[in-house]
Symmetry: C2
Subunit: 665 residues, 2 copies
């Protein structure tokens, strides 16, 4: 093997940098000896773990390790340089160089080092009686040197937070490597579990047909002048697979959505997608809760967590088997928690309707329920209230009306607090109410209105939204979280249909509904058989066989029993949803159902979202190798990008002409 060290002692500077390449006029052909040595290296190498686990046998042996220089080598004395090597597993070991091999080396140079393992002198050891080791360097092969960027970003290495352009450097952090490896372990576990249940992994196309109604999708121009659309999910293909005789399908499917990327979303993401034939939602829920239970059982402890749920009394309990997982109805979720995906780590932060006190809201007769959240012993002063609670009542944080909040700070407040709600509701018997609520000084009461129990479509309700905001604050979490564990629940019995919310509202405080229905989840969801009779005349009253899996206030996944009856499916498309071009959009599905498709049901879980939650990470970006920014930009490769007009020509499209576009052409 060529010795790099001799070249080094000649004092040449081998740092490469993009800037110098960019500024050099005529190219310097890369020094061939140097370049060639980068490609010649030993294959039989050791790792730090290997040698420290068997230190006795390795002591004083020749060691060869691949890795990076974790920090800039430090000159200790005239002929002594210390450095830290980080190997391919992320483990580090000290290098001791008395031959000036490291003289010109920099942080994040990638090297193959040779040396002898020796125990550190006891004084140098930081770990008391435990032996620590170092390697006395005898040779180094610089496989590639690094430019100065890692040196400039050394603070970022400590914090772990890098500018997005330097994702490649960030990926080298052992914590990042661990996330990628663990995500791989999760997918392995899921595949094994599904394989044991005889699920077959089948790929479905992502180049699909445009369906302009519904969530915004990405289009793909073709040279025929027509467009594909990127699938938002394999929904229709998987139903056709079942119609085609596949009994148990799954896929870790790439899905694409062109949505506004607020709230931790990516334009492309992976779903664990599955479907079963000759089955219904019960079979799916049974399978999914067991999958989640096993996955949490294996991985959550690594983040010091475990899976919990609610018992029938609404109290937290451990999940020991999938069947423990609570099934909350939509009605319970909306009336107690104000949202269809409640964060149950705070199971006692609940909303209370004042209907039993005969108190109603009169502001909008479609929203007759008046409800409150009471926070006990939460404020010391008006200032305290303003600092911690009033700021959760900003209009910008609410789609519709903002709840009214009343801190109870005086005796007068205790008796007359309800006057603050007089614009929203009438209070006939406040004395009885006060006896029941027993508000104390230091409490805060928030109130707002909502639709009646059996027709709650505004989701979240204002108090549900407030509850979300409360639990998003450190103080709210401190006051109300009863566990650091992950708390799961099913949410079932959703209304099958929802009224379409009007874009043009006269009153900005209340949603206004058009005389048009949309599917609460999607049009392929079956109605609950008990409600079937109402389907034709009272569609807003029927519940669907849909089930969402909610954890910590996040919808991890959802699914439903499907409508495998083509007549019923078409009735839903055309008569209830009034989709005029249903045959054009869904003809292939209706045809598949009409040729003897068996009953089927399915589910999809956001795979990254599940992994992020499992690993205790805030964002799905943390479990993606190359996440995009909140506006869909890949800051590493600089996509998306403009293309020349003539690149578009074969697709029969062109830019819409404007002043702005002239820079693109």
């Amino acid at each position: 093997m060529l010795s790099y060290s001799r070249l080094l002692r000649s004092g040449r500077n081998f740092h490469t940098s993009i800037q110098s390449l960019q500024h050099s006029g005529s190219f310097v052909f890369p020094n061939k000896e140097l370049t060639k040595t980068k490609f010649i290296f030993d294959k039989n190498t050791h790792t730090v773990e290997q040698i420290t686990n068997n230190a006795n046998s390795f002591e004083n042996s020749n060691i060869v390790i691949n890795g990076w220089l974790e920090k800039k080598p430090k000159k200790i004395g005239k002929n002594l340089i210390f450095a830290t090597l980080r190997d391919t597993n992320g483990d580090t070991i000290q290098l001791v160089d008395s031959e000036s091999l490291l003289k010109y080396r920099n942080v994040e140079d990638v090297v193959q080092i040779r040396g002898k393992l020796s125990a550190k002198r006891k004084a140098a050891s930081s770990n008391g009686n435990v032996k620590e080791y170092e390697i006395k360097l005898s040779d180094i092969n610089v496989l590639n040197s690094s430019n100065e960027k890692p040196a400039q970003l050394k603070d970022q290495k400590l914090s772990g937070i890098y500018p997005p352009e330097y994702r490649v450097l960030q990926l080298r952090l052992p914590s990042q490597q661990l996330l990628l490896k663990r995500k791989n372990e999760v997918s392995k576990l899921l595949r094994n579990l599904l394989d044991k249940e005889n699920f077959v992994e089948i790929e479905t196309p992502t180049l699909f047909k445009p369906t302009p109604e519904g969530a915004r999708e990405f289009l793909v121009p073709t040279r025929s002048g027509k467009f594909y659309a990127l699938t938002q999910s394999p929904q229709q293909y998987k139903q056709m697979l079942i119609a085609g005789g596949v009994t148990r399908y799954f896929q870790l499917a790439r899905c694409f959505r062109d949505e506004d990327m607020r709230k931790d979303r990516q334009p492309e993401f992976t779903q664990l997608d599955l479907e079963m034939g000759f089955a219904n939602g019960e079979d799916i829920m049974y399978l999914i809760q067991n999958l989640i239970c096993e996955t949490w059982s294996k991985f959550a402890p690594l983040s010091n967590k475990q899976l919990m749920t609610l018992n029938n009394s609404g109290k937290l309990k451990d999940v020991n088997s999938g069947s423990d997982i609570y099934r909350m109805t939509y009605k319970e979720a909306m009336t107690k928690y104000g949202i269809d995906k409640p964060d149950l780590r705070a199971p006692n932060l609940k909303i209370m309707s004042l209907r039993e006190f005969n108190i109603h809201s009169y502001q909008n007769l479609d929203f007759p329920i008046f409800e409150v959240i009471i926070i006990r012993n939460a404020v010391k002063s008006k200032e305290d209230y303003n600092n911690h609670w009033a700021r959760l009542l900003q209009k910008d944080d609410y789609s519709n009306r903002v709840p009214i909040g009343v801190p109870i700070l005086s005796d007068a407040d205790q008796t007359n607090w309800f006057n603050s709600f007089s614009e929203v509701a009438t209070f006939e018997n406040p004395i009885l109410l006060n006896k029941s609520l027993r508000l104390q000084k230091g409490d805060v009461i928030f109130g707002s209105s909502r639709e009646s129990d059996s027709s709650i479509f505004e989701n979240p309700t204002p108090l549900g939204r407030l509850r979300q905001l409360i639990l998003n604050t450190p103080k709210g979490q401190e006051l109300f979280y009863e566990t650091k564990n992950d708390v799961a629940t099913w949410v079932v019995d959703f209304p099958l249909f929802s009224p379409v919310v009007s874009e043009n509202k006269k009153m900005t405080n209340y949603p206004e509904y058009e005389n048009k229905l949309c599917s609460t989840h999607h049009p392929f969801t079956m109605v609950k058989l008990d409600d079937y009779d109402n389907l034709r005349e009272h569609p807003l009253q029927v519940r669907g066989q849909h089930y969402d899996f909610v954890m910590n206030g996040v919808e991890l996944g959802g699914g439903s029993t499907r409508v495998h009856d083509p007549e019923l499916q078409d009735f839903i498309f055309e008569n209830i949803l009034k989709i005029s071009n249903a045959k054009e959009l869904f003809g292939h599905l209706l045809e598949a159902l009409a040729m003897g498709a068996p009953p089927h049901a399915g589910f999809a879980i956001g795979f990254e979202r599940m992994c992020a939650m499992l690993f205790g990470r805030e964002s799905i970006r943390d479990v993606l190798a190359f996440p995009k920014s909140v506006s869909g930009v890949d800051l590493v490769v600089k996509s998306p990008a403009f293309v020349e007009q003539d690149v578009l020509k074969p697709y029969n499209i062109q830019y819409i002409p404007s002043k702005k576009n002239s820079e693109a052409n």
Copy 2:
């Protein structure tokens, strides 16, 4: 459970059909009793395999089986109907109905049947002494009836070939289900093998940056007015993963190419994609040949095949371990077989250069080699020659010149055959040549020219193309195939660069090269160290560290040792390939390499192509659930499709106005 049978006996016709839905004026709300029964069925069911394997214990027990009616039930007598049920595994069993339960049933109705298992009367059994079973039907639940399409397509069910629109019906064939299941088994095996070697499966983005140079890619408009492009492969992302500290990466990655879809291609397909850090091509080849060997070992016998290769003498031999697989140089492939992906099932159908006889081609001085293929004892008459061989010499089948063919039918032919080649080459000493070639009556000799051994860029050569065409005919296979097995080889030592072929040719018979180079495989491939010195002055003479895996004349996959030195990579981009906007296109990669990226190498295999070959299928369409047509159309869902102009507006694009487009808007 509701009994469907009573409803049936009332004589109602439950066939559904899209046509009737389309023609019905006002909708009939689906009969609720009927509809509801479709959703109520038993979960504890049996399979045919289960009951026939344990027939003794099941005999005379109550059986419940889900499945489809394989054929239209047949009325045998006044109160006797026979039918065949096909269960979810594709196994069939006879149903005997003496209660008119099947009276209105049709082929491909999906049902849940109940009955008692009984042995067929010996006379009715077709299998001699082996007991056959049937089920005496006691009840049937019609989970979904089928329209008349399956009845209309009953011949197609026998042949297995359906119109593409009826892919869903075709998928129900046990043979199709088997292909999907086996493909799943292959992916399971590959994942297990790679997992054992510590490879981590990591997802990379498919929404990438447009790179107008290179193969045509699909663009994705965004609302910013910029475009993503769909990745053709994870190449650059995986190199950045290695730069980011991942040591062993793999992915079953979805790739997209907007190419002309001749020759069995799909706009989207899956690659088994992998990359190793601190490694080079040798490590990759070692891994891949073992993967292929194990995969073939497990699956090829199911199609009565096994894996073979060539030994060093060019003879077929069995592959017992990955290291057996032959390594053919590009030069050997081009000189002996005329193509860089030779079909070695015919190892003795070889091309012979006549250079040693001092015979040269003078037509084009850059193509000085004259070479021949001799087929022995192949024709009886001129008519025979015209029927079987002359038709392989059609201009349409060749990019450039067509070989000249001479059947040896007379004594004169035996002596003077070379005169037919006088326009291409001069024959100085035909007598010596004839002594050596010893052509006999009945032989055919084909001849053409090619570039000299060390600069063969025309690929395939004309004789290489002819050889391909010969082996595409039944007669050619009969004459030259020496095995029905799969024959694999590596092909290595490709030229790193190729001259760009001019689009405007003056002579249509020879390729013309521009004064511009392109990468033979891709620009990230490293030069062989032995040739490094020629890189600057004689780039066309350097060989690359690229390796293709070829089987049965198909390139299954390829890979290379990468250029991890950023200066060298940039030199290749800018100085050799003269890519002027290299920093814009590849800046992210150069930056990643410049921050201490280790040496790395990788590989990608066409996963569907590999499965198709493994299962003995002609086309990758056979191993895809929903393949597209040769022009990229999904005939099931009818994509791609036109979209309204206003759908395009948010993406800042519009159709190019023309008469044609008015129909789209």
